[in-house]
């Protein structure tokens, strides 16, 4: 398939590529990881992509970021520097993450800049925080409208980002990096807290009928709409065990991409960039 959204690239030669996302994109992931293992720093996919395209890259991704926070980081940078930006590439994170007060460092048991309603359900330690994380998040999952707002929030961010890039004649590539919602929360084990598969199907329906869905240009979105049931994919699906830092179950497990994984991701972005803008 070949999409051509080629714009006047001549004047864009000295501009930079702006990338944003969560830990899968964070250039300093090694510094921010909670897994007690030392990794030697290695280039992440934005840096590798920049080398392939021979273009400067500004990577503002932050580990733990929610999609709302990712959008705000991008919005702020685009509004301030739009004349210097050639392309925006965003790797959206889990949709159930939320942040408070401009992404202030939040501590449940570890530093983070967002809280994740799925994490609060799945993490056994969350009941032992100074507040009951299970109880706090249970309330959200129990409400029907919660999942409507989860869908609305990220789709709105995707749509607004597209409008903004169009306004400033900036190239755009969007992608869903992680599962939109961690599928484990819909397992039978958590049915009482979350609502089981029925809740997942409700979410899919909400997503499918959301007003922003038809507005987003699918050719600029890798794996659109990021959910397998609706014909899409998260980039995380493409990473095998060999592409991850330490996929073995246990306290040192870390499924973030290793050097090989980042190389693969950079190729995926490069191919889409080539199809759209070269």
């Amino acid at each position: 398939m070949h999409w051509s959204l080629k714009k006047n690239m001549g004047s864009k030669s000295s501009k930079y590529i702006l990338t944003c996302g969560c830990s899968f994109t964070d250039k300093d992931y090694e510094k921010h990881t909670y897994v007690k293992i030392n990794y030697d720093p290695f280039p992440k996919w934005p840096e590798l992509l920049g080398k392939k395209l021979n273009k400067p890259v500004k990577n503002i991704a932050i580990s733990g970021a929610s999609n709302d926070y990712i959008f705000r980081l991008l919005l702020s940078d685009i509004l301030e520097n739009h004349e210097k930006i050639e392309t925006v590439i965003v790797a959206w994170s889990e949709w159930t993450r939320a942040h408070i007060y401009n992404g202030v460092i939040e501590r449940f048991d570890k530093p983070r800049n967002s809280f994740n309603m799925s994490y609060l359900i799945l993490h056994p330690e969350s009941k032992k925080y100074k507040f009951d994380g299970h109880e706090f998040s249970k309330h959200y999952w129990a409400g029907k409208n919660y999942l409507d707002d989860v869908a609305e929030s990220t789709l709105r961010n995707m749509h607004e980002l597209q409008i903004l890039c169009d306004k400033f004649n900036i190239n755009l590539i969007q992608s869903q990096m992680l599962n939109v919602i961690n599928p484990t929360v819909f397992d039978k084990k958590y049915e009482e807290l979350v609502g089981g598969k029925e809740k997942w199907h409700y979410f899919l329906e909400s997503l499918a009928f959301n007003k922003h869905l038809i507005e987003i240009k699918k050719e600029t979105f890798i794996g659109w709409p990021g959910v397998r049931e609706l014909g899409g994919n998260a980039l995380d699906y493409f990473l095998s065990k060999e592409d991850r830092l330490n996929p073995v179950e246990g306290p040192l497990r870390d499924t973030h991409p290793n050097e090989k994984g980042h190389e693969l991701l950079s190729k995926i972005y490069y191919n889409r960039y080539k199809e759209l803008y070269l």
Binding site: R72, L75, S76, Y101, E106, K130, D132, N145, Y146, F168
Partner: protein
């Protein structure tokens, strides 16, 4: 199509506001955005909603500007209490009202149960995360709130500038309510030492926060919000008792809304006419 004024905010701006303490009080009078619209002879789209925090105000304003910028002449915003927050657009957290409700005080009227249920979390967030873990201690909360608000203000200012839209903002409900903050923190952590909020410490927290000097102050009524720095918030200093609904309900009455509209109109004339 005639361009419109986009108005955004909390209950101080909400067209459908009703008093929870005085349910029989007639609040059908025009709110300040409508009065401003009459003065400027422009239609008004009021997306303000009672109970929301600055997150919601920001998100909904950015959404409307992004999608309808060609039809917007002027954006007017009345920012609200800085400690409110929401999870997506789903539920509005107001720790202060939760405390009021728990202690059966009047300010807790109409507060949803999940706010009260979340009090252990508020305590964790404010006391453990934001205060005890910071070298700035209690002033860190003001600093964080200021940084959050200033970053929202700058982003919306830049967005309006990019789309050629006029903008005027103020803090209506009181972003930096010192006595409120003190009450809230004492209620959340009764065993701690008393929290001390002086006007000096608040002013310093604001001035030392990121982005303070990047805000375009010309578009803001009352900048920089703290009296020591020559600013004001409508809820503290402008809205006298005669301009409010009644004891325990500080929302502006008809005259209060007229006064707020006058401020916005005068500011509009000053910078745009």
């Amino acid at each position: 199509m005639q361009k419109y004024i986009l108005a955004s905010g909390c209950s101080y701006t909400d067209d459908n506001f009703t008093s929870l303490l005085y349910p029989d009080y007639d609040t059908s009078y025009d709110k300040w955005p409508s009065i401003l619209g009459e003065k400027l002879e422009l239609p008004v789209k009021n997306i303000a909603r009672s109970g929301v925090g600055n997150d919601y105000i920001f998100n909904k304003t950015v959404e409307d500007i992004s999608q309808n910028h060609e039809n917007i002449e002027l954006v007017v915003i009345g920012w609200t209490e800085a400690w409110r927050w929401c999870v997506f657009d789903y539920e509005y957290h107001n720790p202060m009202s939760a405390i009021m409700k728990k202690h059966k005080k009047r300010g807790g009227a109409g507060v949803q149960d999940y706010n009260v249920m979340s009090i252990p979390y508020y305590k964790h967030l404010f006391i453990d995360n934001l205060i005890n873990s910071s070298p700035y201690k209690q002033s860190y909360l003001h600093r964080i709130c200021a940084e959050d608000l200033f970053s929202k203000i700058i982003t919306i200012q830049n967005l309006c500038k990019a789309f050629g839209i006029k903008i005027i903002m103020s803090t209506l409900c009181g972003c930096f309510n010192r006595s409120g903050m003190k009450t809230l923190l004492e209620a959340l952590d009764m065993n701690s030492e008393n929290y001390y909020y002086s006007v000096d410490s608040t002013a310093i927290a604001l001035m030392e926060s990121k982005n303070f000097y990047d805000v375009d102050k010309s578009t803001i009524i009352g900048w920089p919000f703290v009296d020591l720095l020559g600013g004001f918030e409508f809820n503290f200093g402008i809205l006298t008792e005669q301009l409010r609904i009644g004891e325990g309900d500080g929302h502006p009455n008809k005259k209060g809304h007229e006064l707020i509209a006058d401020y916005y109109y005068e500011h509009y004339k000053k910078i745009y006419l």
